[in-house]
Amino acid sequence: MTFFFETLLGGLLAGTMYSLVAIGFVLIYKASGVFNFAQGAMLLFAALTFVSLHDQGVPFALALLLTVVVMVIGALLIERLVLRPLVNRSQITLFMATLGLSFIIEGLAQGLMGSQVRALDLGIDDVPVFIGGMMVSQFDLIAAAAAIVLVTVLALLFNKTRIGVSLRAVADDTTAALSIGINLNRIWQIVWAVAGIVGLVAGLLWGARQGVQFSLSLVVLKALPVLIIGGFTSIGGAIVGGLIVGAAENLAEVYIGPLIGGGITPWFAYVLALAFLYIRPAGLFGERAIERV
């Protein structure tokens, strides 16, 4: 039984890492209706920039600051060159544009900073600690703490500041928000910058776990089932979805995997998401669109 709970807890903690990636998606989707496939590429770019700076001997804090600046500049460029010309186009068109964007960012990241695997040491020892007789990875605990801090900050930003109120207004009704004088382009810039910073946090944690390399951008594919289960429009949903996917994936790999040949992690989360979709077609916390002719 201890083993079961150990597996469950390990899965839940791994799930917070998925949530971190998913939050970046939710932010952008809420504010602009764009399903940002480039989130994974942004994550890779942020982590690579940080590691490259850090390797050059730039101190930790300064490297972090510089990476944030780079991500903000990136957000401004994306808004100006990609989103603004595509305003008022269909969601699928915007999604495909972010597909193209992910190619550009990946190509730039690897072209400028190399494609070899870089080690990233955040100074966190990955030693197991024992809580109530269960073995838990210390790194996972810190990652979970980072996720909690991040979500709290985002919640404060969304609920307590003027920017947050305009963000919610845009998400609620873009046309109405425009008519009362909210600058849509500015909102997009802010949202993409925030998503870039969330990507940086996620990129650092994932990078410390598995090395900073190209496969980091594939984390995006891990976040999709999380989004499906939680719904595209809810940060809380992203957290819950992440926990569900992490726990279910771990349990399935241990208990179901051996029965059908193992290695089921790549698709199990998707099948789980499908099962959820059959019951709730807009995810657990997603808004159900009402359709009119």
Binding site: L81, G100, F103, L221, L277, P281
Partner: protein, 349 residues
């Protein structure tokens, strides 16, 4: 008397069409000029992959461009076609190549239908993720179960003997003609399909499925049909990709990047256009070759392959965004605009 005469002749006047000289010319080139003049490099490395990718684009376009259901699992269904055709040729060799190919397509259609079932309840991005589920599940399936690749050690399919009515097709020319014929027949079917009631229903669903349901189109049934037909095309394209082009294949030949490549073909070529697939496929398959030649010429081999690949990625990304911004209907629209301009040149309307 004269009225009845008019009635008899009117329909024939209405359906009278111009002889499609351009199309006939292309066919003449494809079937006679190319086989006479083309060398093995052109056939193997350029024409065969171009034709197969066109067919795959056509399959995806029926689903995404005509019915409006975005799919990023195209390569998964190609894999089903390849592995199923291989299975037929291996285990029931008396069927012969055409029947095996058809069987591979049909099995792929069934699989596509099954993975398309969620489309009755789910739309948009949520549906797109289910096609990703198909992609990953099918990839895993063809790696995990050795039965599919005849228990080989490396998980690859070895090319079966390609033969048709006793003719050996294992020469570049034979494989080219096999691919060309298959692609032509399927394209012809697709052209008629999208002109029929089925195609009109698909386009109504694409434009607005709620409205389509209101005017009495059985939306769910036609969405499922689109998934099945699209997978049929993709399956046959997958089999051709494996046996006519690569000669050998494994699940990794049909990974998610192949799915994206096919999606790019239809974006660049033109969504909701049959000819657009061919233009898009030509563009996608020729651009890397051009870029590597250009890289060679500019830097004389001093630039390494990795950097060239990164550059190619950036160029692809930029092209996709530029197309989406400037010409969302793709290269085919640019070509038809050009033709219209030329037909009045140097005057304008």
């Amino acid at each position: 008397m004269s009225i009845s005469l008019a009635r008899e002749t009117a329909p024939s006047v209405l359906i009278q069409r111009r002889v499609p000289f351009g199309l006939l010319g292309l066919l003449l080139i494809a079937f006679i000029v190319v086989p006479l003049t083309g060398n093995d490099y052109w056939l193997n490395a350029i024409l065969i992959p171009f034709l197969v990718l066109s067919l795959a684009g056509l399959g995806l376009n029926l689903l995404t461009g005509y019915t409006g259901q975005t799919s990023v699992g195209a390569a998964g269904f190609m894999a089903v076609g390849a592995f199923a055709t291989y299975g037929f040729l291996l285990r029931l060799p008396e069927l012969g190549l055409p029947v095996a190919l058809l069987g591979g397509g049909l099995i792929s259609a069934v699989v596509g239908f099954v993975f398309g079932l969620p489309s009755s309840r789910i739309k948009g991005f949520y549906l797109m993720v289910t096609t990703l589920a198909a992609q990953f599940f099918l990839e895993w399936l063809f790696v995990k179960f050795p039965w599919f690749y005849n228990y080989g050690s490396s998980g690859t399919l070895s090319a079966p003997k390609l033969a048709l009515f006793g003719h050996d097709l294992n020469t570049p020319l034979g494989r080219y003609l096999l691919t060309l014929t298959t692609v032509l027949v399927l394209t012809w079917v697709a052209v008629n399909l999208v002109k029929s009631q089925i195609g009109r229903n698909w386009m109504a669903i694409r434009d607005m499925d709620t409205a389509a349901a209101v005017i009495g189109i059985p939306v769910v049934r036609y969405k499922h049909l689109a998934f099945a037909v699209s997978s049929f095309y993709l399956g046959i394209a997958g089999a051709l990709w494996a046996f006519a082009y690569l000669g050998t294949a494994s699940a990794s030949s049909f990974d998610i990047n192949r799915s994206f490549q096919i999606l790019f073909i239809i974006i660049i070529g033109g969504m909701g256009s049959i000819a657009g697939n061919f233009v898009g496929a030509a563009f996608i398959s020729l651009l890397p070759i051009l870029l590597s030649h250009a890289g060679q010429a500019l830097f004389g081999g001093s630039v390494d392959a990795g950097q060239l690949q990164n550059l190619q990625k950036i160029i692809f990304g930029v092209l996709i965004i530029v197309f989406l911004i400037k010409e969302p209907e793709g290269l085919i629209r640019l070509l038809s605009n050009l033709r219209q301009r030329l037909s009045h040149w140097p005057l304008r309307f």
